[in-house]
């Protein structure tokens, strides 16, 4: 007679077996994460320095409360550079554990001042991810750390940070879905929450692209009620699916398609989350599939010379617009005209992520050891 494993054993199996990646896979993801954030959008805090003291309203418990007004442009500029250099160091895997913590600290510092006007954006998962992954060993391969070590260190990859990110992402969706459920789940066909978003987006926020103008004309209460409930079910389903890691990963494809649909219907795409979703790509399969030539190129890149070349290129391209009116950060995004081009860019990123996840799950079905 076999006895069921104890609760603590099952919990351990879930924590350490949700989605294990090898050091090679983690190294590739680190490069993707830092590269994606650097190239798409790195926030800047410099632009808030011109606002007066009266508008300074940091959130409760924010470390910005230690200041009584917006800091000077020099202080905020130094913070911006600290963030950019930390991300570049993370990309190249220089003292990766420490750098990962620095990225989160710098992100939090920049955001604390950016959000001191009162509005807090929804990017906390991207901010916390490097801190969480610092313990995973994502700097042990394809990095300056590995390059500089004469004798390779036989460290094992830790997978609990990946489980922690999955749990945080699910909790984040829950905190968005639960308050909506309390209000929208009213079985009253006379009211709709989604329609409110559509009307506000079109008439107030001047969003007018793709399907949004057609959505404004739709009057069917049944259609809007179904959309309300679908949104709530979608956001609340992440938590129960955590018990089934393989299904949870499949559900991420639906999440990307949800963002694509939102991009088309509401003109909001949330492509910052791609950096988090991509953690669940099959990075091990990709690492195994890399040809020796690509590995050699990667090894060449992760030298002090390669790092210096990239840092020079990045600073030359993206610091040109530093602090210019309407530029609220670095990367490609602030250079793309707002409106339809930027929306299509973000929708394209979500579609690419959906494709990447789909290939990860169905192309190499036996390549992962997830417990389902």
């Amino acid at each position: 007679m076999t006895s069921r494993p104890a609760l603590s054993q099952r919990l351990d199996r879930w924590i350490h077996g949700f989605y294990p990646l090898s050091l090679e896979g983690l190294g590739l993801y680190r490069i993707f994460f830092a590269g994606y954030v650097l190239l798409r959008f790195v926030p800047s805090a410099v632009w808030v320095s011109k606002f007066p003291k009266s508008m300074y309203a940091p959130a409760p418990a924010s470390f910005a409360l230690a200041f009584d007004s917006f800091p000077s442009v020099w202080f905020l500029g130094a913070l911006d550079l600290f963030l950019v250099f930390s991300l570049i160091a993370l990309l190249f895997g220089y003292r990766t554990r420490m750098t990962s913590c620095f990225v989160t600290i710098a992100f939090l510092a920049v955001n604390n001042f950016r959000y001191a006007l009162g509005k807090i954006d929804h990017d906390i998962l991207v901010v916390l991810l490097p801190l969480c992954m610092a313990a995973s060993g994502w700097g042990e391969r394809y990095s300056l750390d590995a390059h500089q070590r004469e004798v390779p260190v036989a460290r094992a990859a830790r997978s609990w940070p990946i489980t922690a990110m999955a749990a945080l992402l699910s909790f984040g969706y829950f905190t968005a879905g639960f308050p909506k459920a309390l209000s929208w789940l009213d079985f009253d066909f006379d009211t709709s929450g989604t329609r409110g978003w559509v009307l506000r987006g079109f008439f107030v926020n001047d969003r007018e692209h793709l399907l949004l103008p057609e959505m404004v004309k739709l009057e069917s209460p049944l259609f809007w009620e179904v959309l309300d409930y679908a949104g709530i079910v979608f956001e609340l389903a992440f938590i129960p699916l955590l018990a089934r890691p393989r299904w949870w990963r499949r559900y991420l494809v639906i999440a990307c398609l949800f963002h694509v649909a939102n991009g088309c219907m509401l003109n909001i795409a949330f492509a910052g989350l791609v950096a988090v979703y991509a953690l669940f790509f099959d990075w091990d399969g990709l690492a195994r599939g890399l040809s020796s030539r690509v590995v050699a190129v990667l090894r060449c890149m992760f030298t002090p010379l390669g790092t210096a070349a990239f840092a020079t290129f990045y600073l030359a391209v993206f610091l040109i617009n530093w602090g210019a009116p309407g530029r609220f950060g670095f990367g490609v995004l602030p250079l793309i005209p707002s409106g339809l081009p930027r929306l299509l860019f973000d929708i394209g990123l979500q579609l690419a992520t959906a494709l990447g996840l789909t290939l990860s799950i169905w192309r190499w079905p036996g390549s992962h050891r997830t417990s389902s």
Binding site: D12, M55, F178, D186, T191, N205, P221
Partner: protein
């Protein structure tokens, strides 16, 4: 796989983290506080299909030194603030709703208003108004929810 000692710490960390997050979220719900949305907005407002959909907006009127009233577009005054942040600044009345407003902030706002109006101003009136969202409903009257005035002459003390 981690060792048994580290495993215990990780397990304890997961349980403590879950307890902290869920507890904090439950507290904010209990006290009807705003919980910062981590992934997506948690907006819970609704529109009624049979009624005219409305939106709360902020409308600014500057009173010139000559006594004229001039409408000011708040988006022009806050052009260098990201568009989704402007209503938050307006809802906080530029932070000038205190008994002793900061003179530097008063001067900052006055220079912005005057550069739009083109003449010296002595007062800025802010109205929080509930208006129909759609242009086809614009003949319906707007409902003024709140009005407040920000004195801009003499650093706000007169």
């Amino acid at each position: 796989m981690v060792g048994p000692r580290e495993g215990r710490w990780v397990r304890a960390g997961f349980l403590a983290g879950a307890l902290f997050l869920v507890g904090q979220f439950a507290l904010t719900l209990t006290f009807r506080e705003h919980y910062p949305a981590m992934v997506l907005p948690a907006g819970r407002s609704k529109v009624h299909h049979g009624r005219v959909p409305t939106i709360t907006r902020y409308e600014l009127t500057a009173e010139t030194q000559a006594g004229d009233a001039r409408t000011v577009d708040p988006h022009e005054i806050l052009a260098d603030v990201p568009s989704h942040v402007r209503s938050w600044v307006l809802a906080r009345r530029f932070g000038l709703d205190r008994p002793q407003p900061d003179p530097v902030s008063i001067r900052w706002l006055r220079s912005r208003v005057e550069s739009r109006v083109g003449t010296p101003v002595r007062m800025l009136r802010v109205e929080q108004v509930r208006r129909p969202i759609r242009p086809q409903d614009s003949e319906l009257e707007a409902e003024v929810l709140k009005t407040w005035s920000i004195p801009l002459a003499g650093d706000g003390h007169d």
